[in-house]
């Protein structure tokens, strides 16, 4: 066990954990984050995605010990029911989720996409989201929602 300091959604948190523990389990079990989710533990499905220093990272395989001083963003810190982030608002507007279990990975990957490419084409969105699995079939609505969010964010900029 070791004391590890993590910066999650702008707050510094200290956890006492086995340093080989993948980040996902620390976020969920020690830091009460519900956004990142377990789907495969193999970095194949994307349900566990968090944003680390601006990049989408699969938290289910990356050891927590490698996270020191890095800025970790989770879906929990993006917006709330009362004050959703424009991405979340767009997904609600487009009714873009069925069971919603994969949505953490989709929203966090979409956030990174829009941060880097504020005006993505359908092809850009499909390419960026292709590694994130959605099993219920929300794909077309997700694409529409991301474009809607892009328009909102651009109008604000």
């Amino acid at each position: 066990m070791a004391q590890i300091s993590l910066k999650v959604n702008g707050m510094t948190r200290v956890v006492d954990t086995d340093p080989t523990t993948p980040l996902l389990y620390v976020l969920r079990n020690d830091l009460d984050q519900h956004g990142p989710r377990f789907g495969c533990g193999l970095a194949q499905c994307g349900a566990c995605t968090v944003i680390v220093d601006g990049n989408a990272v699969r938290s289910c395989t990356i050891p927590v010990s490698t996270m020191g001083n890095k800025n970790i963003q989770t879906l929990d810190g993006l917006g709330t029911v009362e004050k959703p982030h424009p991405l979340q608002a767009a997904f609600i507007e487009e009714q873009a989720a069925q069971c919603g279990y994969c949505m953490n990975g989709i929203l966090m990957t979409a956030k990174v996409l829009l941060d880097k490419n504020p005006n993505p084409t359908d092809a850009d969105i499909k390419r960026a989201l292709d590694p994130v699995l959605c099993r219920c079939g929300s794909h077309l609505r997700v694409i529409r929602a991301i474009k809607r969010a892009a328009r909102t964010l651009q109008a604000r900029a």
Partner: protein, 764 residues
């Protein structure tokens, strides 16, 4: 009598004959009579308080034993209650699936939630409204006939200043009303004398109310089953091999160095670990050295061996609709006859979240948290397993990821119970991705043989369909993995009417018809990774693939357009005919025979059509595909979907259901296939079992036909049913080669292009 094991000598199936013995009984459905009336194990369905409660703050709790499998059914059910009660939609709160708080309405399966629970809630809330009006009449001293309700406030039509709210009438109190109720589970009939509203008076039903769960789901504020944490909870993992279960030898020293390990649990052939942290449990499960004995009945060596077994083994039961006419005579005198055998592979449900459950086993009481489709089924299995009264097993339902039928079998709950019992503390069990892909009960391999006869005018006069498959081995009420591993045997008889892959009728006016589904007993008594479970519209996507591909083959052989050929055989079925025409119009279908005149192009395009009935719901699918002759890769460009399920409760929710079925259907039609050999399952993760991704999704155009005068029927599954056939027919249109087995992987398409067809028995 020949034993199953003798049949399995040499690790391969040996063709057999009728061998009905005790093993066949191993997967029968328990049919214990449930009498919920006045039974302390159940909320009494006659009691209005079992269904509806008005809280002190004016919100209305509506309780149902059905659950939401990620489709948004919670919203649709709340719409029905809001209309019936005249309460604003946002004041309705649904309470779903908890065994101590809801009426047992049967499992959430078969696309029947709106059909069954929708009707139960409509009647119960109609009764509540009647009672509330009576109370208001007394309170206001106004006859009931003069009262009206708006937004949960009852007022006097003659003097609107006289009014009282539901909240003031019963807020926080019980109704204490007993209703006349008959039947049980999905067949409950509630207060039939009370007339609910007419569809013309609906205000909320029929509108696209946004989903109530999505704002929380999209902001990490919605608790999934994976998020449930119980005080004092430990983490468990279960260890199973990649092949048929056998006797384990466990070396506990192999995990002695793992910090936080609480216990290695062995119980019969059940092996698990319990640890203080999830990571310690994962490491212990990975590192625990378990040597499994050679299984007494290894897996069949290949899908081809299963085909042989299915073909040559006597069924334990056959079912199907009543035959019409004399099919054999009609085939004998037909101008032309057609016969082909179609095949579909084992497929996974492949949930995003592998199975998970939490159990807290106390000496006289067990509490379980699960996302199962049948919380009451889970409760009854666990109560049998532990010898506890049903009411002392409390099952709390919390939403899982979308499951498509997978959560009919609640193995994780049994795993959690066994581990919790062993350590005396609450234990959470999370299956790994590999556990899930190896051990999930699968959609079974299917064989379908179809024979058709046409007359001199090219009209179908004889139709013979014979399906062969396995029934659900993991059906409702059978012991799951954990129970079997600790030695429990199932003594339930084979079901008289099993489900799994029902007989697929066809829609057309054919005077002579014989349609049968043969159920073949699974030849192994030990729990096997090829055990089966209802997978979205069990058996029907493949059954209709055979049926609607054959219709297409016959149309093409007569050089008649595929749409026109269908239409000619639907002169008396107005609903089907209208749906077919509306869908073809939307897709701008151009009449010509298949294949396309451009079928020799390297990148060939084609269109295909399929029309199906699933219960009262009708679906027509038109696929536009592109086939790359070089690589064999099929791309579905667009699906046009026509859908008629009677009265539409929520148009946008329904549209989404159809889109979801399309994506699932494309995925299963093109890429999903369980691979295995005698040594075990080979598809163990998302790399080896690929599914549809964003780059491969088609456009979807939906045509909804609303028939408010008809009762609502299901939409959770029917949309997937025509998908395989529509896509396969489009591939034929594109390249002129018929695919009779699926999924249509690049390898199969290339092989078909080389050999001109994949069928082994076609005599076209």
């Amino acid at each position: 009598m020949i034993s199953r094991r003798e049949l399995l000598k040499g690790g391969a199936f040996v063709v057999s004959f009728s061998i009905l013995g005790p093993l066949e009984k191993a997967f029968g459905q328990a049919t214990a009579h449930i009498d919920p009336y006045g039974n302390p194990d159940y909320l009494d369905p006659r009691n209005l308080d079992s269904w509806v409660a008005v809280r002190e703050d004016g919100t209305v709790i509506v309780q149902t034993g059905k659950v939401d499998l990620g489709t948004g059914i919670e919203t649709a059910l709340a719409q029905i209650a809001a209309d019936e009660l005249d309460v604003p939609f946002d004041r309705i709160r649904m309470q779903m699936g908890d065994t101590a708080k809801t009426v047992d309405e049967g499992r959430t399966a078969g696309s029947n939630t709106i059909q069954a629970a929708g009707q139960h809630l409509r009647q119960a809330t109609a009764v509540a409204r009647v009672e509330l009006l009576k109370m208001a009449s007394t309170r206001l001293d106004v006859p009931v006939e003069r009262l009206t309700v708006k937004d949960g406030i009852v007022s006097d039509t003659a003097d609107p200043t006289k009014s009282v709210s539901y909240m003031a009438l019963v807020g926080g109190k019980k109704f204490n009303i007993t209703m006349p109720v008959t039947g049980q589970q999905g067949g409950l009939q509630i207060a039939p004398a009370v007339k609910p509203k007419k569809y013309t008076d609906y205000k909320v039903v029929g509108t696209s109310v946004p989903r109530v769960d999505l704002p929380r789901k999209l902001t990490a504020a919605y608790p999934y089953i994976a998020d449930v944490r119980v005080p004092g909870m430990l983490h468990g993992r279960v260890i199973r091999p990649a092949t048929t279960l056998s006797k384990p030898r466990v070396d506990e020293n192999s995990v002695a160095n793992i910090k936080g390990l609480v216990k290695v649990v062995q119980d019969g052939t059940f092996v698990g670990v319990v640890a203080q942290t999830e990571w310690a449990a994962i490491q212990a499960a990975r590192n625990l050295k378990v040597t499994w004995a050679a299984p007494s009945s290894p897996l069949p060596a290949s899908p081809a061996v299963v085909d042989q077994y299915l073909t040559n083994t006597k069924s334990f039961t056959d079912n199907g609709p009543m035959p019409k006419g004399d099919t054999a005579a009609a085939l004998a005198k037909a101008a032309r006859t057609f016969e082909a055998t179609y095949r579909w592979a084992f497929q996974n449900h492949a949930m995003m979240l592998p199975s998970v459950a939490i159990a807290d086993v106390q000496p006289d009481k067990v509490t379980i948290w699960t996302g199962a489709q049948g919380p009451f089924t889970t409760r009854d299995r666990i109560s049998d397993m532990l010898g506890l009264a049903k009411r002392n097993v409390i099952v709390n339902w919390v939403e899982h990821s979308g499951c498509y039928g997978r959560l009919t079998s609640d193995d994780a709950a049994e795993d959690a119970v066994l581990l919790s019992r062993a350590v005396g503390k609450p234990v959470r069990v999370q299956w790994s991705r590999q556990d899930e892909f190896i051990w999930e009960p699968k959609g079974p391999q299917q064989l379908m043989n179809v024979r058709v006869g046409t007359d001199a005018q090219g009209k179908m006069i004889a139709w013979e369909y014979a399906g062969r498959t396995f029934p659900w081995t993991e059906a409702q009420g059978t012991p799951q993995l954990g129970e079997r591993q600790i030695g429990q045997k199932n003594t339930a008889p084979y079901p008289a009417s099993p489900t799994g892959a029902g007989a697929v009728a066809q829609m057309y006016e054919i005077p002579n018809q014989k349609v049968t589904a043969a159920y073949i007993p699974w030849p192994q008594d030990d729990p096997t990774p090829l055990r089966t479970n209802p997978l979205r519209s069990p058996g029907e996507p493949a059954g209709w693939f055979a049926s609607e591909t054959m219709v297409d083959e016959v149309a093409a052989a007569h050089r008649v357009d595929a749409y026109q050929f269908r239409l000619r055989h639907l002169t008396n079925d107005q609903r089907a005919s209208e749906l077919l025409q509306a869908t073809a119009k939307q897709a701008a279908w151009k009449e010509r025979p298949s294949p396309s005149p451009d079928a020799e192009n390297a990148k060939a395009t084609g269109r295909g059509i399929a029309l199906i009935a699933r219960g009262p719901t009708l679906v027509c699918a038109i696929a536009d595909v592109e086939v790359d002759r070089g690589s064999g890769i099929v791309t579905v460009k667009k699906m046009t979907m026509g859908h008629d399920c009677g009265l539409i409760i929520n148009p946008d929710g329904l549209k989404f259901q159809i889109e979801a079925n399309v994506m699932h259907g494309v995925s299963r039609a093109l890429m999903e296939e369980v691979k295995w050999d005698a040594n075990g399952i080979k598809t163990v993760d998302w790399k080896t079992y690929p599914v549809i991704t964003f780059n491969k999704v088609p456009d979807v155009d939906v045509v909804l036909i609303n028939r408010p005068e008809r009762a609502s029927s299901g939409s959770g599954e029917p949309g997937i049913v025509p998908m395989f056939a529509a896509i396969g027919n489009a591939i034929f249109d594109a390249v002129g080669v018929r695919l009779r087995e699926g999924p249509f992987t690049p390898q199969r398409v290339k092989a078909a292009l080389q050999s001109k067809t994949t069928a082994t028995t076609a005599r076209l």
